[in-house]
Symmetry: C2
Subunit: 397 residues, 2 copies
Amino acid sequence: MIFAERMRGMKPSAIREILKVTQAPDVISFAGGLPAPELFPVAEIARAAQQVMNEDPTGALQYGLTEGHGPLRSWVTTHVAETVRLHAEASDVLITQGSQQALDLLSKVLLDPGDIVLVENPGYLGALQAFQSYQADVVGLDADADGVRPAALERALAPAIRRPKFLYLIPNYQNPTGTSMSAQRRCEIAAIAARHQLLVVEDDPYGRLRFEGEALPALGELQPDLNWVYLGTVSKILTPGLRVAWLITRDKLLFQALAMAKQAADLHTSTFTQRVVEVAVRPAGWLAQHVETLCRVYRARRDVMLHALAEHVPQGRWNRPSGGLFLWVTLDGNIDTTEVLKAASEHKVAFVPGAPFWVGQPTPTNTFRLNFSNASEERILEGMARLGKLLRAAKAA
Amino acid sequence: MIFAERMRGMKPSAIREILKVTQAPDVISFAGGLPAPELFPVAEIARAAQQVMNEDPTGALQYGLTEGHGPLRSWVTTHVAETVRLHAEASDVLITQGSQQALDLLSKVLLDPGDIVLVENPGYLGALQAFQSYQADVVGLDADADGVRPAALERALAPAIRRPKFLYLIPNYQNPTGTSMSAQRRCEIAAIAARHQLLVVEDDPYGRLRFEGEALPALGELQPDLNWVYLGTVSKILTPGLRVAWLITRDKLLFQALAMAKQAADLHTSTFTQRVVEVAVRPAGWLAQHVETLCRVYRARRDVMLHALAEHVPQGRWNRPSGGLFLWVTLDGNIDTTEVLKAASEHKVAFVPGAPFWVGQPTPTNTFRLNFSNASEERILEGMARLGKLLRAAKAA
């Protein structure tokens, strides 16, 4: 059938099928990218919902503007000015249905089948899926502990090669690796992109979850003449279930095209959830304090996981992310982590094998991603012990 | 620029620009498709939001399944069974971000550039935009007071012509005309589509707003072997601001493709708003009673508008829709309603000229759409008097 052909690269992966099996309540899962639900600001959201319905109920329940709720767009400009020193006008802000929709709209507006999109390798699965759903040719760039290598970007921009449409990056605590781009690397990558007039899509869902070190500048702030789109969201600092995120670009023509694409895609994001967010973040200083709590708890969980890794996974290497939700493990030898996962539900522990995050060939099979934000310290300890057993069993097999 | 090319057929129309001017509070607008805000069930939604936050706050704020919230999908099956005698399993129901997203996902999954999509002529603008944003070749089928003409559909399916990908219909109180397909016409169209194995996308946002007459069956219920997708929404029976709608198909492969497309598009619709809807509609009989109120008020507004038309617009013909939000006016002679609209802000009244709803050439210029759901009876009377003056001034000019 026609649509089966169009869904190339979007088929439900074997891994997704296995992970479904690991969703039983007795399985300790490090697989998802879920925030800690016990830290959701439930009382504040409930109060905000009530306040929205008291303040202007019909406004909150009626159709709204495609671009988004005015006061929320204004708050976004304040938020990004405070957190990433990004200076934007409210008219540069497009409210999206999660950052995933921003990736979809950018793809729809910018990509033709066969167009090249550059990503960090390994890269964020949701972004790969969005680009591939528009039949883009996704090309992975070599990365190290400081982020994408400048030489890899230069090579991808060589005159003999088809010109890429854009470069997609998560500079802060990347998904899946947890890597943060160094300050110098940001300068180098931004300079190369600016020189080649390459559009950079900077996705920053995890930037506020900073456990240590200084906040590093956004790429567009380093290179004012960079062709640049910035994505942010409340999913990781407030809650993901409201589906409220934002795209910022100063390119008026691109903004207009994206807004028209959003109008055709879903008219607008829920007026109600937009207002709930806007009201919830109103009290001065509250969000910063809430994010501080998240960072304190996630930092401790990361540390517990790092200790447990040293104890239970002697046959591997891993990084020590300075923020975010994830860390990345590389096993010694040629253990196939996708194969290992098949016994995960038996051992009551889950992770995501690295394979689907890698772009191009050859795909390393001995990597996997661990999430440390969702489970409690006790569950992390227990889960890592189970993971150790699982890995030992796999090695023996 | 590349994306300007991709946005062909999506440019902000001159009409949209004029309509922006008519959004001043002293303008009486019959232009939008807005429900009456004073009838929004504010207390029920507010209570539902509170209850959701009491029952399972973390579930309501966490990431959710792409296909939708289980209890809401179950409710949808009950709702469509009661209202359109459609028998579906919860697993056939995909929750979408308004019906607009269903149109976007269907386009993404089914359409290649240049593919033919059949629509009623004139047709729903949001659907035309969605199909055109995927560079479809939208073909309008002649319609009369009973809906699409069978002969027009037969002609479009002639063997010499490229095979259309699907037929898009709003059988109940169509947007823009307010026309309802007759029972016989439904049978005829469904039979032709089934014989040609043509997919029918039946969009039913207004079906519950029935002022008189019997409810007529959905096309897929008339022809059990029809290749058929059904779209519904709470936008017109509850509120549009929550952005909760549904797509139903028994085609498992198509369902899977649409769910994957939705995952790439926005992961899922807000878990919070889905639950608010599900809790709001729980009390037995409440929604039916609420819809009865809507019908009573909208029926009276329609009648006021029909009387005012007879009084103030002697130079035209119009229909008497038996439900929905809209009616359709055709003026005598060659008055261009797009030109007339230019003086609308001066006369403090607005409508939507018919031109953008028409597909293909020649485009009639002497039609326009009126909405009767949004303004009170008093405002309708005053607005129609202004419209009469505006039309007389246009004729004299």
